[in-house]
């Protein structure tokens, strides 16, 4: 077991790919403490008092943005959210220009969601502020994977050795990539399942099982994680109809029955009921979908604290 981490390297969280398993454990452990803060009557600690956090969202998102905002406020940070209308992009203001404008106001952290993979790498190279990736294109959504791991760990006590099935549009999903990186680093056994047309090239190289049969993925699983099918994928000709998708890949009660009796059902939201997941499963007792949302705040508090609020030279004796 690698030695404990006491801080995160670098000023940014761009992806799980850059984190060690020790750093992942640090974030999850810190999130435990943060979860307790959310249960108090006064849901606030001064850890980020006086720090400025800007939420820069190029893609519309209520869920993630609100989760970050709540996390920031609970840490006493000064927070503001900028939603970039598509028209600004069309008008031609580049990401760099926007970033430099914001940087002039000296923020400590920029939380950014963008439609292009790698956009946050560009942002992090340009800005002195720390950059938290709230989702970049098809690349990564690290805080989602962290809250997923937190939820699994909360229910199962561990991550190592668990069988986790991830089902859906693997090709376009940043949640998929982040979860694969995290779960494999922490020793879980990942089974990825989706139509061949939606399976990215070479992913078996990530140390996971890949199958096109839901039954195989779900059998004996400790956790079953659904990915959103985005309706617009239909135009890409990846599969013939939503009806057929649900028939072949939908997570139905019959398929869930193949998993372990105490398996948990997960979904990053928002759900397409009747497409990737049957309503009975989404609302059933095994579903931890709402826990995921609650844990999202704690995990994001942990990330923000470790990047902006934690001590600089803790390692010094």
């Amino acid at each position: 077991m690698s030695d404990r981490a006491t801080r995160l390297r670098g000023k940014d969280l761009l992806g799980i790919a850059d984190l060690t398993s020790a750093e992942i454990s640090l974030i999850l452990d810190t999130a435990e403490a943060m979860k307790e803060v959310s249960a108090r009557p006064i849901k606030k600690v001064p850890a980020l008092r006086g720090k400025t956090v800007i939420n820069l969202f190029y893609e519309p998102s209520t869920r993630t943005r609100v989760s970050f905002e709540v996390a920031e406020k609970r840490l006493s940070a000064d927070t503001l959210s900028v939603a970039i209308a598509t028209s600004s992009v069309v008008k031609g203001e580049t990401l760099i220009d926007t970033a430099l404008n914001l940087e002039a106001m000296n923020p400590d952290i920029i939380v950014c969601r963008h439609a292009s993979s790698g956009a946050n790498h560009l942002l992090a190279r340009t800005c002195k502020a720390g950059v938290v990736n709230a989702g970049d294109g098809m690349h990564e959504h690290p805080t989602q994977a962290l809250l997923d791991a937190f939820t699994i760990r909360e229910r199962k006590g561990r991550l190592a050795g668990l069988k986790v099935a991830i089902i859906g549009d693997l090709l376009h999903s940043r949640v998929f990539r982040s979860n694969v990186y995290l779960l494999t680093k922490m020793g879980a056994d990942v089974w990825a399942c989706g139509p061949s047309t939606l399976t990215p090239a070479g992913i078996a190289n990530l140390g996971i099982h890949v199958t096109t049969r839901v039954e195989e993925a779900v059998e004996g699983a400790d956790a079953v994680m659904m990915l959103r099918i985005q309706m617009e994928r239909m135009q890409g000709g990846y599969f013939p109809s939503l009806r057929e998708y649900f028939h072949v890949f939908g997570v139905t009660p019959e398929r869930v029955a193949l998993a372990k009796p105490d398996a948990i059902i997960m979904h990053p939201g928002p759900m397409n009921r009747g497409v990737e997941i049957a309503s009975e499963v989404a609302d059933g007792p095994a579903s931890v979908i709402l826990d995921q949302v609650a844990n999202g705040v704690a995990v994001r508090m942990a990330v923000l604290y470790l990047l902006a609020g934690g001590g600089e030279d803790e390692a010094a004796a």
Partner: protein, 182 residues
């Protein structure tokens, strides 16, 4: 390394402090102990056990993590507790006589942070402070109500409290910061 307190001495000291608490507060009514993580917590639990032995009453005990309340000057060397841990205060502190418990009182900044944290939990009637060792060099106007031992120290020294629950042994040592063996 000079031993300031051995197991026997620590045990007698804690017993003495427990009696002082009872005397000052005229009993254990409305008293609650809150240990400051990390080593204040076992000390608080031991005090609760001693108070229970003496009075037959259970004394509510909690654990407080002050990491999220530290001020800038506490970024270094507040003892080896870099990970944020849970605060567990499973009772209401409103109207209570809270007794904060910590192992070493030094600059006073840890206690200042603990007071800030407690205010967010409620409104105690009074807050008193127990420390096992007071080593001087206060930077804030903080004073302990109950002191195990006063130890004048220089800034180049550190006081190491070791407890059986965490370190396997009960003792208090005086160490040098620079040039000492790690």
């Amino acid at each position: 390394m000079p031993v300031l307190m051995d197991r026997e001495r620590m045990s007698r000291t804690l017993t003495r402090i427990a009696h002082e608490i009872l005397e000052r507060n005229r009993g254990v009514d409305d008293i609650a102990l809150v240990g400051v993580r990390t080593r204040g917590v076992p000390i608080a639990k031991r005090l609760a056990a001693i108070l229970h032995d003496i009075t037959g009453h259970e004394v509510a005990t909690g654990a407080l993590d002050i990491t999220l309340y530290r001020d800038d000057l506490m970024k270094t060397a507040v003892g080896p507790q870099p990970i944020v841990r849970r605060t567990e205060i499973p009772f209401s502190i409103d109207g209570r006589h809270l007794v904060l418990v910590d192992d070493v009182l030094y600059t006073g900044r840890t206690i200042r942070a603990a007071l800030d944290a407690l205010i967010d939990f409620g409104r105690p009637s009074t807050i008193q402070l127990v420390v096992l060792v007071d080593r001087g060099h206060r930077e804030l106007p903080i004073k302990a109500d109950y002191v195990g031992k006063n130890v004048p120290t220089s800034r180049r020294e550190t006081v190491q409290v070791r407890l059986a629950e965490i370190d396997g042994v009960d003792e208090v040592l005086l160490d040098q910061v620079e040039g000492g063996t790690a």
